[in-house]
Symmetry: C5
Subunit: 361 residues, 5 copies
Amino acid sequence: MVRKSAKKKRTEEYKKHIGQVPGTLVYTGKKSDKDFHLECFDYTKENIEESILLNIEDVINYKDTDSVTWINVDGLKHTDKIEAIGKQYDLHPLVLEDIVNTTQRPKIDIYDDYLFVVLKMLYYDDKENIVIEQVCLVLGKNYVLTFQESEGDVFGHIRDRLRYANGRIRGLKSDYLMYALIDAVVDNYFSIIETLGNKIEDLETELFTGNAREDINVEVQQLKREILKVRRAIFPLREIISRIEKGEHRLIYKRTITYYRDVYDHLIQVSENIDIYREMIWSLMDMYMTTISNKMNEVMKVLTIMSSIFIPLTFLAGLYGMNFKYIPELEYRYGYFVLLGVMLLMFVGLLFYFKRKKWLR
Amino acid sequence: MVRKSAKKKRTEEYKKHIGQVPGTLVYTGKKSDKDFHLECFDYTKENIEESILLNIEDVINYKDTDSVTWINVDGLKHTDKIEAIGKQYDLHPLVLEDIVNTTQRPKIDIYDDYLFVVLKMLYYDDKENIVIEQVCLVLGKNYVLTFQESEGDVFGHIRDRLRYANGRIRGLKSDYLMYALIDAVVDNYFSIIETLGNKIEDLETELFTGNAREDINVEVQQLKREILKVRRAIFPLREIISRIEKGEHRLIYKRTITYYRDVYDHLIQVSENIDIYREMIWSLMDMYMTTISNKMNEVMKVLTIMSSIFIPLTFLAGLYGMNFKYIPELEYRYGYFVLLGVMLLMFVGLLFYFKRKKWLR
Amino acid sequence: MVRKSAKKKRTEEYKKHIGQVPGTLVYTGKKSDKDFHLECFDYTKENIEESILLNIEDVINYKDTDSVTWINVDGLKHTDKIEAIGKQYDLHPLVLEDIVNTTQRPKIDIYDDYLFVVLKMLYYDDKENIVIEQVCLVLGKNYVLTFQESEGDVFGHIRDRLRYANGRIRGLKSDYLMYALIDAVVDNYFSIIETLGNKIEDLETELFTGNAREDINVEVQQLKREILKVRRAIFPLREIISRIEKGEHRLIYKRTITYYRDVYDHLIQVSENIDIYREMIWSLMDMYMTTISNKMNEVMKVLTIMSSIFIPLTFLAGLYGMNFKYIPELEYRYGYFVLLGVMLLMFVGLLFYFKRKKWLR
Amino acid sequence: MVRKSAKKKRTEEYKKHIGQVPGTLVYTGKKSDKDFHLECFDYTKENIEESILLNIEDVINYKDTDSVTWINVDGLKHTDKIEAIGKQYDLHPLVLEDIVNTTQRPKIDIYDDYLFVVLKMLYYDDKENIVIEQVCLVLGKNYVLTFQESEGDVFGHIRDRLRYANGRIRGLKSDYLMYALIDAVVDNYFSIIETLGNKIEDLETELFTGNAREDINVEVQQLKREILKVRRAIFPLREIISRIEKGEHRLIYKRTITYYRDVYDHLIQVSENIDIYREMIWSLMDMYMTTISNKMNEVMKVLTIMSSIFIPLTFLAGLYGMNFKYIPELEYRYGYFVLLGVMLLMFVGLLFYFKRKKWLR
Amino acid sequence: MVRKSAKKKRTEEYKKHIGQVPGTLVYTGKKSDKDFHLECFDYTKENIEESILLNIEDVINYKDTDSVTWINVDGLKHTDKIEAIGKQYDLHPLVLEDIVNTTQRPKIDIYDDYLFVVLKMLYYDDKENIVIEQVCLVLGKNYVLTFQESEGDVFGHIRDRLRYANGRIRGLKSDYLMYALIDAVVDNYFSIIETLGNKIEDLETELFTGNAREDINVEVQQLKREILKVRRAIFPLREIISRIEKGEHRLIYKRTITYYRDVYDHLIQVSENIDIYREMIWSLMDMYMTTISNKMNEVMKVLTIMSSIFIPLTFLAGLYGMNFKYIPELEYRYGYFVLLGVMLLMFVGLLFYFKRKKWLR
């Protein structure tokens, strides 16, 4: 019941959106109880300043500096604040609309002064369900803006690398920062699909050993849906990275392109794995079907063996239970024992017959 | 019976069309009882004039003005009036033929002075069936003509935005008006496929819980056909918008292209969802097949258990119902009770056997 | 038997063709008893002359005139006459070979002075089978030659439009005449696939209502083959029209290209319908399989219910039919009636059990 | 057993090949007992000289003449002789390696002075199995070399046309000769796939009439494999001819290209037929599955009818075979006949029930 | 249990990798107990020097010589040593990261001074499982570096050809050496897929003869997975060779391109075979399904025949075992024998009936 109403509500939200003036900001996600949160890293090769911005107007200070700035926004519910940030960074109204509309497909929009990238961050929640959270990136000359639905992300390592000046990150420009962020998201995909792969292997083992639960098909179907979901979140990203890697925009320096190419290779690898898992899932359904058929076969064999052996014997017994006045066999002294012998012969003969047919092991 | 004759009639209409001189106007839709209706919006950034035109000749007044004009025509049955409008706006005879031929595939035809776009508006009727209505748009320098089969559409919000000068619409040209109209149609697709998705989820839940009705396969098939129908109506639109977005025609200003790109992204999203639903429908059929097989398995098990237990027992009973003169066991004082004991042992033994085979829970 | 020998014969004809000098004319069709027939329309905007040519040499007179000429040839068996016409119009030997080889795939060959188009005309014969007849068109500067296997075609309307100067046809060039001829063939495809669609819907209704005949799978298969056949005849035409429409040849005037584009759109529409029918046919087979399985399930249920109820009862009856000396129950006054009561209880209990399992309605 | 060892041997030969210096000649075919055979046609428009060359050194005489030369080599086992010929015609070592490696995929290699084409000749052997023989062609300025595994080919007609100056062949260059040879190979494909088509139709008829043998699935599978085999031999040829037809090499004159285009069209036709046969084969398996299910259904019905009718009757009979002291019905004068009547009623009632369910015809 | 923990560990390793600074070297393979091993061939047409390098610093000596050097590194676990080599040859950090990350997909990265190629070497281990080992190649002006997980490879023949100056290899540059190495890897693919093909044929024979084990479906599934695995390892290589063959890099001389084209042809051949095997595997599952169904059919027939014959006979016997006071038949002198006769007739009649239905052979 609860589920139904949840569905209805989502439809309502969709409908609310229809007919709106383009550029109107409507938050379509489910995390409407999350706080707004503004995190800022401003750094050069030498220095780094990390701060939590409480005043939205402060973001403008970081726009035209020479240092590189990463502003991370959590909490898309607060559309008015998103709009305020957007205005200060001269973002197109459609960009802002896309940021808060969390049902977006991953995409890249190229504007004169900035690149706008939508992608999906995947993680498992407490109940082992895959959660898909939208992350939007805006890459400007000296800044990267990121927008997330709620706190908690896969960027922890990057914050550390910034703070402690690990690797090249502090010495390079905003395009490298965006690479590092995307790379973190993509790296995380690997652990997601690894878990999917493990689930498939477990199901496979269960089916191969013949001890499969009867409702394993439900599980297979749910896994299939999960893979469809992950696929849809990941696949469009390939094209996006491919466009960045081709160096279509002056904000991406030649030096960084090698890194984007590396991300692209990773994505291809993830995609291939997903497609292989998909094919394996289909095979699992096939396996399940043959397993069912084999089980039915076994059931039928037991029935057939039992029936074929005892029905004729019962007939014989019935024959000599008849009350005819004159049945010569009944009069014989050892008639009963002779009949028992005949029955035993039939019994053994039929057993032998089924043995030869390999219905009995 | 009624259905058959309806089908025959449609075939007749097809045939009527065959061999006609190209450019002959033949209405092929089903809504032949609808009235003709001519609605006109003429606006600049400052003013707007809304009117119902009763005289077809009046449409010419809006052709070469500086203001932007939207003329909406309802009722394609009236081919003579369509032709009259077409003449005044110098439309190619094939364009007019396509407007009234409601079996068109979505398409775009590029002429020197105008763009001609055919697309499909989808909505649910009272019986929850999807209705597909053709909408034709002609985009000229300062005007947009729209042609619909009958009154009632998804453009209500746009009329309001025009009247109350919401958003940018009044300040921009006819190409933005066309964008707004197409966007309204595409936005509506989302609610259609949302409903399809809900139907699929309901069927899935039914199948997963094992309480599926026996004729659920009929429903699955009908859903499959609905998706095929929707797919055919929506998919060709992608290519159309893609061509507009590439800026192939001087009537589309650079400024508006961002908006068309946004529509394009939405269409891709809709298309992907449709394809996922399609795959899920196929999985549903698979699920249904395994469900049937599982049920059959259960039926067979009951039969096998019952038969395998009682047929041997019946044989034993028959054995001692025989009338042989000399059957020693019958003479024993407690022969009957010994046999009952043996039978009980067999009964328990077989139960245990089936339990171990997991045929009994 | 007859069918086999027909098949053998066709193979023979194939083989006859193998190893021939390229350019040798071998008629490969089945209509070898048809007469030769030469029909000629010569027209300008003002005049039209319609004639039956008896003398093949006369065709040369129409080659270099300013008027537009349509020469229609029926009866490909007469390869010598085809060759004579070919010589007078300077056709390449391979073109002539293709005209009489009716197993051609639809194609277009572009020569310097003319276009050669092979396409397939579809119609139903008396027994409701689809017949595929090859039509070849040669488009020259002022003439169109058409070659058909036998009399009877879909060009009746075009003859009338020529005679009575309907529409634009008399005022335009040979490229428009070819368009009109191809358009007539394509228009006819619509009624063919409409009939196919009706057949599919009928089968679907039969399967949905559960009253399907047992041999409905044979019908489904035959429909599948028909669709394959039609598909093969129609699909290659798309590419042909696409090449013409791109204006690759100077014989096609810019003015006419809009019309060819229109034919192209129609072809896409036909193709899409065919592919949807194809998918629906596959679904029909699925439906049929589930129908069979459901029926089997029902049969099994009846068997299981009957057996599970009566086999234990029969055992009980057998038990008290035994001839042991001492069976206390037999001595009781109302033993029989108590047993009857027990049996009734078991009967009702099992009925109730199967009712709860929903095996009984 | 024999088969296994044959397989092993092939693997051995593969392995022998691995790690060889590129350009080493290793014959990988099965026809190692065939003789070496060198056949030569040297011709101009006026003269033709046909000879069997016994001395390999003689081939060099034909290399730089103005006349066109066709040298046909049978017997690839003799790798030393192949190498000798190759040296005299300056063939690349990889070309020679490919000639004797009969597991090649059809391909074209373009060298500066010659074209190297590998294709597959198909024919049926005595046991109606398809045999695939590799034919290699080298087209030089004035010569064509052909290499076959063994004597016997489809070029008989071409030899005759050369000898008796049929058609254009003697008047044209080596590129036309190569066309004629390829055309002969392709023409032969038609009869191969015709036979395949006949086999499919026979199986289909068998399945449609319901008299299919039980092992028909084995035959269907073998046909499927044959089609895969033929497909692999034929499909790559399309690309080869397509490259020749695009006139990529100066050895192919413009005049001949029309002829190559014709071969290309034939290949497309063959390929389409193969793909249709493939789809039909899959349908056959579907048909077979439904046939099995239908048969099982019939078996189950017989069982169910027999059991459902006689099990309750047997119960009744058992009831009155009990030995209770007091069973009132047994005492009635006509008890037996009343019971017989009841049984008859039940019998007829059940028959009627199954009739209405359409399980009985 | 062991297997599970192994899986877990792999996931751990993945995770360790996530969030690392790009360019960090993490070995992801399973062969962490292997020794480090540095093998060096330095040669010109005249001389060759073969050595085992113990000191990593020595590798720099071979970098800028005129002779061609092949340095082969075994043991990727030793990431520090890999890094040292990488520094001396100026390899990009991402290249080094890829070398030790053995889950890479085959790929080519083109840098200014060198080409970096990742490919997969396949071989069977002792338990007949396919092992996939990653091989990385770096092609520089005068050197080729190869990196393998462990000792043992398919390059034995190449070492011999270098030592004994077999073929062209000593006379040509490093690009030919890389070709020779790749060719050796690809050649080995043939024997791998040959083995796969043999396995498929064996399974097919088993299924065709009807003697298939019941768990053959498990084997079919495992084969399917193996093919997926091989496919993923081999397919991307095609694109890599294709890019090399197009001569995109100045390190590849025109003379060598013919050889790379040859490798490409081999790869296409391998790929086609894999795809055919894949299709055959799917057919095997189909075959298996029909085999199961056929077996079930047979079981059902036996059950039906036995039941249908003896159940009615048992009923008759039961009828005359009733204890009615007055059953006239029981009194007849030969009643028993008459009944036996009737039973025999029924028995024969039913046998005949099943014979005609072809359920009995």
